[in-house]
Symmetry: C2
Subunit: 123 residues, 2 copies
C-alpha cells in the first residue's frame, strides 16, 4: 500500500422523487460510510446502521439500527435499514451513518431513494 | 427566497500537523455543520457540540458536548469544544456534528487544527 492515502471520497447528487427535491451526500471513511438523504437541506435524524457480526448466514445478514440524534420513531428504523443495507453490503459490511430528513417515507419513495444513493456510490 | 436550494456545500483539505497527515471535511446542512477531522481516515468519535440557548451573556456563550458514537473520554469533550466553538459561532450558532480521529490531541496541534478547519469553511 502507498503511504499516501487518497483524498476522502465524497459525492452528492439530487433528484425529484414524487415531486420532492431530494438531495444525497455520500462520504467514504475507512470505518463508516456517511450518507445524508434530505428533502429539507438538513441532516435530520442520525441513524447508525450496523451489520450484525453474530449472523452466521451470509445470505441473510442482520442489521441493527440505533438513532444517535433526533426523533426515535419505528418508521425511521425501517427506512434506515432499507436504505443503508445495500450500502453496507457493497462496502464490505462497513457500518453506515445515515442522516434522514424525509417528507415522503412511502415504500415507493424509499425504493427510488435507494437508487439515488446507489447513483452516488463512493464505496 | 428562491425555490431552488443550493447544492449542499462541502469542502475538504489536508495538511501535515506535527508531521501527521490531517484531513478535514466540512459539510453545511441547514440544521448542523458537519466536520470530520481525521488522522486515521476514519470518522472516529462522533461528538455533537451544541450552543447553550440558556446562556444570556452573548460574549461568553456556553457549549454542551455529547458523544453520540465512540469512546466517551474527557479529552474528547475538551478537544471537541475547542474545535467546534468557532465553527458554531461563525455559522449563526448552529450545532456542530464533529467526527474526531486524532493521533495527536496536544494543545498545539488542536490550535493548528482550528486553522485547518477554518481554511475549509463552508458556513
Amino acid at each position: 500500500m502507498s503511504t499516501t492515502q487518497a483524498m476522502i471520497k465524497s459525492r452528492q447528487t439530487e433528484k425529484e422523487i414524487n415531486g420532492i427535491r431530494t438531495q444525497v451526500v455520500c462520504t467514504e471513511f475507512s470505518d463508516h460510510i456517511f450518507v445524508v438523504l434530505t428533502q429539507y437541506g438538513k441532516i435530520g435524524t442520525l441513524v447508525l446502521v450496523t451489520p450484525d457480526s453474530k449472523s452466521s448466514d451470509v445470505s441473510t445478514p442482520m442489521f441493527s439500527t440505533k438513532v444517535l440524534m433526533g426523533k426515535d420513531e419505528p418508521l425511521t428504523h425501517v427506512c434506515a435499514k432499507n436504505l443503508a443495507t445495500p450500502v453496507s453490503q457493497e462496502a464490505g459490511n462497513r457500518p453506515v451513518l445515515l442522516g434522514l430528513a424525509l417528507k415522503d417515507s412511502s415504500i415507493e419513495a424509499v425504493k427510488l431513494m435507494r437508487d439515488l444513493i446507489k447513483s452516488c456510490q463512493v464505496w
